[in-house]
Amino acid sequence: MINVKILGPGCPNCRKLEERVRNIVQRFQVEAEIEKVTDYAQIMRWNVLRTPGLVVNDVLVASGRIPSEEEIAGWLR
């Protein structure tokens, strides 16, 4: 089970990132739980100053941009 966290207060870019993550999870049948983290104290754990941030199994892999589906697939598989 992979734990995926999307860091961000719910801005349009955060929603777009979530959509891409869900696409990948569905397409490759990844067993994953997707969490949305909106609490700023939590977001600051990874020092993310520009949202959205993407955390996979507690490790921040991208911040301040929406990674391509190709990249997301690489992290989740």
Binding site: W46, N47, L49, R50, D58, L60
Partner: protein, 351 residues
């Protein structure tokens, strides 16, 4: 993942991306140079309008300016976004750490212009800066400069007024950010920051961020360009249409009495009018250019534009989460005063 891609394959892909960008640049250059002759031919040959007539001049102006400004916007936003992909708020925070006020404010304003920033990130950015021990005033210099020197406004000014005025706007915006930040710093307003901000201690999460490849940089720049141009193009078209109408039909100097340099109250009036008008910067500049041609003063017009882009209600609502109302009021007051002063200064200097 990285290791499975053979290095020659990666190189080839990088080559393809560069070829695409260079090819697109060449097409852009050709198109940009064809706009004016094409507008002339369409207006006066195809549509058969009289050269020198009101209608003919207005149509020629519209057909020339719309594609010119849209091309300029697309090209410049792509270029700016590519440059900005080398800057990040995290790096900016490192650069600002341990800087004294003064130098810190100047650096923060400069980095505010260069660092990609969206108002939805204003809160994490604010918390991150404060948590790293960056003085409040320096943080504000960054937060003021980032939206004030707006890339769409900068490119539109470049296209419609020339580089001198675009540069004036850049310098004025940065000066306001530096001074307003220094004033806020001197006032020692730390107690008007929401208390929870001071309690946040970050940084124990693990990160594996990789350096962006050129392909990723260009992809980010392209997505950004599409998003921005997609959002503003209609305003640009409508703005230029209204501007063309004013150019063709409003008599010279009709506005000198209301918006000219002699009308002292026009600067504050323009700023008060501009503050609540957010997000239509792209449509406002063409109208404002036409107004200037009819006698409105440069300072008044620039002050109006800065008020439109610098202070927005959505950003204030977002910042309310970390700032108490008193500090928000001081923030708005300082920036507004700065814009009014800049307006008067330009009216005084530029004839």
């Amino acid at each position: 993942m990285e290791q499975t891609v053979p290095s020659t394959g990666r190189q080839q892909r990088t080559w393809r991306v560069w070829a695409l960008v260079i090819g697109a640049s060449i097409i852009w250059l050709i198109a940009y140079n064809l706009v004016q002759p094409l507008a002339q031919v369409i207006t006066f040959r195809v549509l058969g309008l009289q050269e020198g007539s009101h209608l003919g001049e207005a149509v020629a102006f519209f057909l020339y300016d719309v594609p010119k400004i849209l091309l300029l916007l697309s090209g410049m936003i792509f270029l700016i976004s590519t440059i900005r992909s080398f800057f990040s708020p995290e790096r900016t925070r490192e650069l600002l750490g341990g800087k004294r006020e003064g130098i810190g404010n100047i650096l923060a304003a400069g980095l505010g212009v260069l660092t990609p920033f969206c108002s939805c990130s204003a809160v994490p950015l604010f918390i991150g800066f404060v948590e790293a021990g960056i003085p409040l005033g320096v943080t504000f210099s960054f937060l003021i400069a980032a939206p004030m020197v707006n890339e769409v406004a900068l490119v539109m000014l470049l296209g419609m007024f020339g580089w001198q005025i675009a540069l004036l706007y850049l310098i004025a915006g940065m000066s306001i950010a530096i001074l307003a930040g220094m004033i806020i710093g001197r006032l020692h307003l730390e107690r008007y920051v929401e208390d929870f901000v001071w309690q946040i201690k970050g940084g124990d999460g693990a990160t594996v961020l990789t350096r962006l490849t050129w392909k990723q940089r260009f992809t980010i720049a392209w997505e950004n360009t599409r998003e921005i141009v997609g959002k503003v193009w209609l305003y640009v078209v409508i703005g230029i249409a209204v501007g063309a109408g004013i150019h063709g039909y409003v008599p010279e100097d009709a506005l000198a009495g209301i918006l000219g340099r002699e009308a002292w109250w026009s600067v504050p009036a323009a700023v008060i009018l501009g503050v609540p008008l957010y997000s239509n910067a792209a449509g406002i500049i063409p109208v404002v250019q036409a107004l200037m041609a009819k006698g409105a003063a440069l300072g008044t017009v620039l002050a109006f534009m800065m008020a439109v882009v610098a202070l927005s209600l959505p950003e204030m609502i977002i910042l309310r989460r970390v700032l108490k109302p008193r500090l928000i009021a001081i923030f708005i007051g300082t920036v507004t005063t700065g814009i009014v002063v800049v307006g008067y200064l330009f009216n005084l200097i530029v004839n």
